[in-house]
Subunit: 125 residues, 4 copies
């Protein structure tokens, strides 16, 4: 741990496991609010998924991030207006956080019954 | 608790305290990534602070949100280019989450030594 | 005109009328891509409309901006998940740009037949 | 031209050249307000540039988009906090719009004297 990391650590009143949950939440908020609204089409969708995953991976304490955008929303036409704007309900992602020995897995997935892109904790250890 | 809330709860593998930490993180990510880039000036800064706080308060399990933007960044001129674009380092906020008996307070504040807008947990109970 | 404005002007190869059209487009892109994804509910919707309008008004050469969010999307429930996330199709706005004697009015409005939140120029003079 | 494009065209009161200027502005606003705030580092910067360019290219009437992020901002450290958050002043881009025979080139580039990421029209024909 370097000075910067130690300094940041000092601000936290909770243990590693609890902090990992907080960090997982931050990353979920990032994924949604940074990228919702982004224009994409069939050709650019994979690059957008990678950019979204990387925007998460560069942040503190992220071990892995997998992002998938729902392909069923892609329009069939090929005119000037046949592209998509990313919404929260199209995002399906799994983010893994690790702080020392504590690990948290969080997911975002559209829940049709809730009609809501639910962010939840699927594993803590 | 209604059906929707129960359904969402079922997806979580952690207790209220842990979930409150996750929810606090989500709100921090929202605050930063939704609003960074927003143009504002001396006249509109207070309205922007309120809108940011409200965007947090309407989300699940938020008890309170106080947002303050650093006024020292406001330019003095009054020409067409004298306004600001919100950056993370200008944001100072406190968010309180409550899930049943568990409460979490999280803050974002620019740390000059880290040169980083640090998001951290300042209270858990 | 002050030095900053003159300096900016020097970069443009087009006349006032043409530049006003370009500036109108910038503001339309701002409105959509800055705010899409913002959480709001019945209580905060008016404040959000004002904040969006002000984020446009502080930018160069804006004479007026009126923003209205479609209220029919507001959910009826009052549980933790009963709020909205702004999408482009909910935005209805009119932006007026003026550069010297040139004026442009641009609008964004959901076009049901196109199924697209169309941004267009409704007046130039 | 298909039905959708014709329907959109009907809303415009200006000619192709004027509309191309408006469309160029929209794309500039998109580039800035969609992506400012995105976390990136040395490894992910090129992918982010491509994703930004593609988010422009999929939109109506874009012939080309080249996006470059200032590499001098990348931090040297390799701790958890050594990454960047995109700001407007780091973006350098050229966008080409074409509507029938009308072409517009617009650029965004940080102007040190203005201390402003200026968006301007560099060519119209």
């Amino acid at each position: 741990m370097n000075d910067k990391e130690r300094r940041a650590d000092d601000r936290f009143v909770c243990n590693d496991r609890e902090r990992a949950l907080f960090e997982a939440g931050i990353k979920m908020g990032t994924l949604y609010h940074q990228f919702v609204g982004t224009p994409f089409n069939r050709t650019s969708i994979e690059g957008l998924e990678n950019t979204m995953a990387n925007a998460i991976k560069v942040q503190p304490y992220v071990e892995d991030a997998i992002v998938r955008i729902d392909r069923s929303v892609l329009p069939l036409g090929d005119d000037e207006y046949s592209y998509c704007s990313l919404t929260g309900t199209m995002i399906d992602a799994v983010i893994s956080i690790r702080i020392n020995e504590s690990r948290v897995t969080a997911e975002i997935r559209y829940d049709a019954e809730l009609d809501y892109p639910l962010m939840y904790v699927s594993d803590v250890s």
